[in-house]
Amino acid sequence: MPVDNYLGVPLHRPKVAFFEFTACEGCQLQILNNEATLLDFLSLVEVVAFREAMTERSDDYEIAFVEGSITRADEAKRLKEIRKKAKVLVAMGSCACFGGVNQLKNRFNNNKWVKEQVYGKFPVESEEARPLEDVVTVDLNIYGCPIKKEEVEKIVTNLVLGKSVSHPKYPVCMECMANENICLYKMGEPCLGPVTRAGCDAWCPGSRFGCWGCRGPADAANVEQIISIMEEHKFSADTIIDRLECFGGFKKFAGELKKRTAKSKSKKKRAAK
């Protein structure tokens, strides 16, 4: 018997559906990767569509968890239909929230070249990779590449209880320090932890692997400052840009840094002449 109230407040078991667009489907898999708590998780909600795991599907849902970014007109159309049906639309994972690694191809500003690079003359339809919010209104973001299952569980539990859902506003360093990790800068590695939104429990720094900012900027992230800190630590502009542009959350800052670097390069060249 699933519990039907919490302290006398009736619980609402929402009908949920999972959808994916341009993505690796890893975020959905993370949900199935919940082995230990999967059964409790499933009794919180009623899954009505989850193509990666089930054949039955229904269009009657309240919460749509959407993975992936939008790279084709048919995807945009389908997403809009989902938006119409869903009361709550959740962007799940970095691709859905920021474009994810998919948006790396946008940096060439040359879709034709991109297509030819992979398919030669063979015609393929594909546009710029866009986050969901460029197409529809998104009610809730679940950050991360991949998403952290503990976080999804917490969010869904809160939705069921009618509790508010909020993300940490502070950066990853807080969690990294709480876990007593050695700061990667001490070991000569770059890390975006000081500006990236926490919530992953410092997943990467915990394995002595610097953060790449998959969860996007924290509230009040001082990105300019971390850029100059990385420069002081002698990390090349390429290294800094690689991190900032990887998942799309820091796109704006990566763009600015690129422009700045290009300018100083051309200045140097001119000076050399």
């Binding site: 994916e20 667009f21 341009t22 993505a23 690796c24 489907e25 890893g26 975020c27 898999l29 993370q30 199935l32 990767n33 082995e35 230990a36 999967l38 059964l39 499933l42 899954v47 989850f50 193509r51 990666e52 795991a53 089930m54 054949t55 039955e56 599907r57 790279t71 084709r72 995807e75 994810g100 690694v101 998919n102 790396l104 191809k105 940096r107 060439f108 070249w113 991109v114 297509k115 690079q117 992979v118 398919y119 030669g120 063979f122 393929v124 594909s126 990779a129 590449c145 991949p146 997943w203 990467c204 915990g206 394995s207 002595r208 692997f209 790449w212 390429d238 290294t239 690689d242 990887c246």
Partner: protein, 424 residues
């Protein structure tokens, strides 16, 4: 009786990614039997251009959520091959252990969550929670173990973090490895139960003469690197992978297709087993024979059984490897990396078959060109030809619509296709 039917499966479920099946039979004649791949491409090969070498494994792991560890390792090895880095024996073993745990995780996911519902007449694993709680609990137990193992060794179960060019950022915790070993030993029993379960499922009787491509083991069942072979007698070196895959584009697919000696070939657990039966762990070989699975088996549905056999193989081999680790002193986890101009190819056996990554670097260590050939991509043509044959057989045998539809779906699923991965 001459049958007619028109089957359209849009976005086949319980597979990774988006694919459609169309079968049209008119008066007992197959007019259409199509496997369509409609997944949106992501253009990884283009997005890597201009990126520094250290980005490659991190980004390429994202080609696929299910086999992200395989992609990461393939990518790392391609970079190492290009720079002339030879991993230490410790690194090589630890990578293999990590790989094994991914194989176990992925195969169990496919066997229980994606394939089994077809045999138990449900649309998903969810109703089984009520009807077959012990089965689901067992699946969850093995999967959890394998996933935890990936966390311990790779930093996390998906998009690993400790695996880098040159080795590992850090080594697993000794105590955790020990408890992992104990859990693996317990898992052997669970795998035997799994075998009993699958023994009770009727494997559709369908055979189509096929060429099977995989790595060729050199004394051990192959997973990372080695020569490329096919059951038709082709044998090649890793760097000649393009001659092994011969990729081409097809109108109804955003994934590229492949061919070798015939119009199509198959990769995956069955292919590996067909080419390397002798290298299987004896217990795994014995299990295989008990299912009547011996090389060269041409029934694609037997891929599920081959997966099961591999589960046993990787579990037993992992236990032995952990024992060896625990007995030895550990070295530095990581060696320094010096980039240089050049090209590197790597072939790795991921759960769904042989995977190739190839990068060309300039003197600054930036990628000039990259190429990834995904197992499911190599399987697409074979799926298509199997489907045509299955439709023809069904037409001549007078199978019912629903039966054909289920069989067709099961056929595609037995390849455990990873479609979004194939359209990376």
């Amino acid at each position: 009786m001459k049958i007619s039917c028109d089957i359209k499966v849009k976005h086949l479920s319980r597979v990774e990614g988006h694919g459609n099946i169309h079968i049209k039979i008119k008066g007992g004649r197959v007019t259409e039997a199509q496997w369509e791949v409609v997944e949106t491409p992501r253009f990884f090969e283009a997005m890597l251009v201009g990126k520094k070498w250290d980005n490659a494994p991190w980004i390429c792991g994202r080609i696929c959520g299910i086999c992200s560890i395989g992609h990461t390792l393939a990518s790392i090895r391609a970079v190492e091959n290009a720079f002339g880095i030879v991993p230490s024996e410790q690194t090589r073993k630890l990578r293999l252990l990590l790989k094994h745990m991914e194989t176990l995780q992925s195969h169990v996911l496919h066997l229980y969550f994606l394939a089994a519902p077809d045999f138990l007449n449900t649309g998903s694993v969810f109703p089984l929670i009520k009807s077959h709680p012990d089965v689901v609990a067992r699946a969850a137990r093995i999967k959890l173990l394998a996933n935890d193992a990936c966390d311990i060794i790779g930093g996390r179960r998906m998009h690993p973090t400790t695996t880098v060019v040159g080795g590992f950022t850090m080594l697993p915790d000794r105590c955790k490895l020990e408890s992992l070993k104990r859990r693996l030993e317990e898992a052997v029993t669970d795998l035997h139960r799994t075998a009993e379960l699958f023994r009770s499922f009727p494997v559709p009787d369908f055979v189509r003469e096929t060429e099977f491509v995989s790595l060729r083991g050199n004394g051990e069942y192959p997973f990372i690197g080695g020569d490329l072979v096919s059951t038709d007698g082709v044998r090649m070196k890793e760097h000649d992978y393009k001659k092994m895959t011969n990729e081409y584009t097809v109108a109804r697919s955003t994934a590229k297709w492949a061919r070798l000696s015939r119009e199509s070939f198959a990769v995956g657990a069955l292919a590996r087993l067909n080419n390397n039966f002798a290298f299987l762990h004896p217990a795994a070989r014995e299990l295989s024979e008990s299912f009547g699975l011996r090389p060269v088996n041409h029934n694609p549905f037997m891929n599920n059984i081959a997966q099961l056999v591999e589960c046993v193989h990787v579990t037993l081999e992992s236990i032995a490897m952990i024992n060896e680790f625990l007995d030895n002193e550990w070295d530095e986890p990581r060696q320094a990396v010096k980039h240089k101009k050049g090209k590197g190819v790597s072939a790795v056996e991921v759960p769904r078959g042989i995977l190739y990554h190839c990068y060309e670097f300039d003197s600054a260590g930036k990628i000039v060109r990259s190429d990834c050939v995904i197992p499911t991509g190599q399987n697409h043509a074979n799926i298509q030809h199997d489907l045509t044959e299955l439709a023809a057989q069904s037409a001549s045998m007078g199978r019912k619509d629903a039966e054909i539809e289920l069989l067709a779906e099961m056929l595609v699923r037995s390849y455990d296709p990873c479609i979004s991965c194939s359209v990376h």
